[in-house]
């Protein structure tokens, strides 16, 4: 049993865990020491949930190979169902247990919706599939935005038009109030929980990739017809990956709703713009690279925040950075140049070493 001390890090996946845990430890120490600005400490949980949803979307885009523009919708479902649950048991359950159950409910519902939406969606291909996921994301947002849900002694009431139509008993409790959404969700999420959930999502996705199922999924991505011909159940594996991807997005949604006291189903939180923003994280981090998604989500969420000092120029700078980074990281011509430089650099090093 003579193993190198760092053999743990030899496996690619473990490096990701190590990075996440290292960030957690460093941040916790800095937080305890009180040297972290309140601005940065407030960014930690959002950073984690966007990283989680990016991991989930990468499973769909990178591993399954299907472009989804509706993941914000699954986040929305996780957020709303868990927040409504937490509203009901706000005073009757202890925080930890309540959050755990809310998490289970949020994930279960987003997985369910992922499954149901997956049935029609996965019959399509390419851009048609992308537009239908976009459509479903917008449908979810629109319906939740006009949903009124209340609970009284007679059970649940819901309406799609107005609060008055619920016909609630006076003791009733409003859970979802139309455009106002859910207000007063207990703030059960914190940085440690968020990191823990990020690691859970990483374990789930990375283990899936390295499993028999994962290889089946990737074979469908690379060549569907060949995969089918060797007896892989294409529909089953597509559904599996899509549902899991939706469930992970739902998990991020639970964190979202339990990190802030208000929740509305509007475009700036759950619209197609947000789905696209998450796609930016995935592509910039490297399609199919789970670690890349985590790092890109964290950096790109932080970037506009750290540019706050530039006031009205910050979104402008952000957009320029986005274009430039894309070209540097993806343009074949630039990549060739980079490789050339690398080679020269290496050669130079070797010469120095032997001299």
């Amino acid at each position: 049993m003579k193993e190198n001390k760092f053999s743990f890090l030899k496996k690619k996946e473990n490096v990701t865990y190590a990075i996440v845990i290292a960030v957690w430890i460093i941040m916790e120490i800095l937080l305890k020491a009180g040297v972290v600005s309140s601005h940065l400490s407030g960014l930690l949980v959002p950073m984690c949930y966007y990283a989680i949803v990016a991991v989930g979307l990468n499973l769909c885009v990178g591993i399954l190979g299907e472009l989804s523009l509706g993941h914000a919708g699954f986040m929305c479902i996780g957020a709303f169902f868990s927040a409504a649950f937490s509203q009901i048991f706000k005073d009757s359950l202890p925080g930890g247990l309540r959050f755990f159950l809310a998490l289970v409910i949020g994930i279960a519902f987003s997985a369910l919706f992922g499954f149901l939406i997956g049935i029609p969606v996965l019959r399509l291909n390419g851009d048609y599939l992308a537009i239908v996921t976009l459509a479903f994301g917008e449908i979810i947002k629109n319906i939740l935005n006009s949903l009124y849900l209340g609970l009284d002694s007679k059970g649940f009431h819901f309406s799609l038009t107005s609060m008055l139509e619920l016909g609630m008993e006076p003791d009733g409790k409003t859970l979802i109030n139309g455009a106002m959404g859910v207000t007063g969700t207990p703030r059960d999420a914190n940085f440690t929980i968020a990191i823990f959930l990020l690691i859970v999502s990483l374990i789930v996705v990375q283990n899936l990739i390295n499993s028999r199922d994962g290889r089946a999924i990737m074979s469908i991505r690379d060549n569907r017809i060949a995969a089918e011909s060797i007896g892989i159940n294409v529909t089953k594996y597509k559904m599996l990956a899509f549902t899991m991807s939706a469930a992970i997005a739902g998990m991020a949604g639970v964190l979202f709703s339990h990190n802030i006291s208000t929740l509305q189903a509007t475009g700036q939180y759950f619209g197609y713009n947000v789905s696209i923003m998450i796609l930016v994280y995935v592509v910039l981090g490297g399609i199919g690279s789970i670690r890349g998604s985590v790092v890109a989500a964290a950096v790109l969420y932080l970037l506009p925040e750290l540019l706050r000092g530039l006031n009205k120029y910050r979104m402008l700078i952000y957009s320029i950075v986005l274009i430039v980074v894309m070209i540097i990281n993806w343009a074949p011509a630039v990549l060739d140049k980079r490789q050339e430089l690398m080679m020269k650099f290496r050669k130079g090093n070797r010469k120095n070493g032997t001299a």
Partner: protein, 405 residues
């Protein structure tokens, strides 16, 4: 290809580390935050004394679809602060102002709040919109930071005792509008067009409908639009027309209202349009044909072309500095700064009292002051955080606002 990805992720990781350090760095400068003088804060102010200053933070959407409201709030608050500083400050101290963007996103609003806290903010004027204001109020409650929202109108915005507001609440506006229409017998059949994806708009619409039953007029159509679908109103107008509505109630913002007026005109439908404070600004839309708004009524506390000295002074200065006509959001913010000033003077508060100390004193003195502002004369507040002011009904005549009384 793998190598490049690796290289890419290394670059990104380096960026992240750098950003972490930058984040920590900003915390280190927390104490000396006063070095970053905000905007054009009049440092040459005559009587205002040296270093110590009250630091007021502003949060609102400065970019994105709602930027028109946020920028107006930030500019107007800056205007008020500059005026106050030029006149000698408050209790001999200067006011400092810093605005942060929230992009209409509640989470970003909290981020903006935290940034301002790092800057050393002692009082918050914000957030501009209801949901953001509500999210931030959780934070101000926890920090015991005084918060005055210029235009967060949802009922829940002022649920905590440290939060006050300048504008009317949504329920109050909805009810007041219905009462006004009922009492003045403006119409017996009323149509409503509202934004169902917006808290402000749907809040007013709900309360308006509830009150309509008591006021003896009938709501014949209640049709919505959403933020994603806010250009074509032919169906909503057609339904109001088919229902025989003589008055169409528009609890929405002027951007959509300007389209509704134009489309109604093209349809040949000419009811009375009746709006709330969100409609103010419609005459300021660049290049808008004001004749379309002829006869439109507004229940608003502020009208940009009112002729009283305060409004004239404010609007002239604003136009000079920013080249646009300010809207009621700006007026609320301007009044908000003066309310803070009055409350500080009343309690003889000094910046040394600290965030919590200032908040405790302001909570008390806010209920004792009376402010003559742009949005009302003799504004007072009670402990619930609601202002006591009466909405003015104005009607647009010959391209100008005229009191409807």
């Amino acid at each position: 290809m793998k190598k490049f990805r690796k290289a890419a992720s290394v670059v990104l990781a380096a960026l992240m580390t750098a950003s972490m350090v930058a984040g920590c760095g900003s915390s280190a400068s927390q104490g000396s935050g006063s070095g970053e003088t905000a905007g054009s804060a009049a440092s040459e102010a005559a009587g205002a004394s040296g270093d110590a200053a009250f630091k007021i933070g502003v949060i609102g959407p400065l970019t994105g679809g709602a930027a028109a409201y946020g920028t107006c709030v930030a500019n107007s608050a800056q205007l008020a602060v500059d005026e106050i500083n030029a006149a000698g400050g408050v209790n001999g101290y200067r006011l400092e102002l810093k605005s942060e963007d929230d992009e209409l996103d509640a989470q970003k609003s909290v981020n903006a709040y935290n940034t301002l806290k790092d800057w050393g903010m002692q009082m918050l004027l914000g957030s501009v919109t209801s949901a953001c204001s509500l999210a931030v109020s959780e934070e101000t409650k926890a920090d015991n930071m005084f918060q005055l929202t210029p235009s967060g109108s949802a009922k829940e915005c002022v649920q905590y005792d440290n939060v006050f507001r300048v504008c009317f609440s949504d329920p109050a506006q909805g009810t007041a509008s219905a009462e006004y229409i009922g009492q003045h017998k403006l119409a017996s059949k009323v149509g409503i067009i509202y934004d169902s994806s917006d808290v402000y708009s749907s809040g007013i619409a709900t309360n308006f409908v509830a009150e309509a039953a008591n006021q003896g007029f009938e709501v014949v159509s209640q049709e919505a639009f959403t933020a994603d679908n806010n250009t074509d109103f032919s169906v909503q107008l057609q339904k109001a027309k088919d229902g025989g509505a003589e008055l169409v109630f528009l609890p929405i913002y002027y951007k959509e209202a300007s389209l509704i007026l134009q489309q109604a005109d093209k349809m040949g439908y000419k009811p009375t349009f009746f709006g709330c404070d969100g409609l103010d600004g419609i005459l300021g839309v660049e290049n808008f044909d004001a004749s379309l708004a002829e006869g439109t009524m507004l229940l608003t506390p502020f009208a940009a072309d009112a002729t009283d000295d305060l409004t004239v002074n404010f609007v002239t200065k604003y136009k000079e500095l920013y080249g646009e006509t300010p809207n009621q959001f700006g007026a609320d913010a301007y009044d908000g700064v003066y309310a803070i000033k009055a409350a500080i003077e009343k309690g003889a508060i000094t910046p040394e009292a600290g965030v919590s100390g200032i908040c405790e004193s302001l909570k008390k003195t806010m209920t004792e002051i009376s402010v003559d502002g742009l949005t009302s004369e003799g504004m007072t507040w009670d402990a619930t955080g609601e202002p006591n002011k009466s909405p003015k009904a104005v009607v647009i005549k010959d391209g100008a606002y005229v009191s409807a009384e």
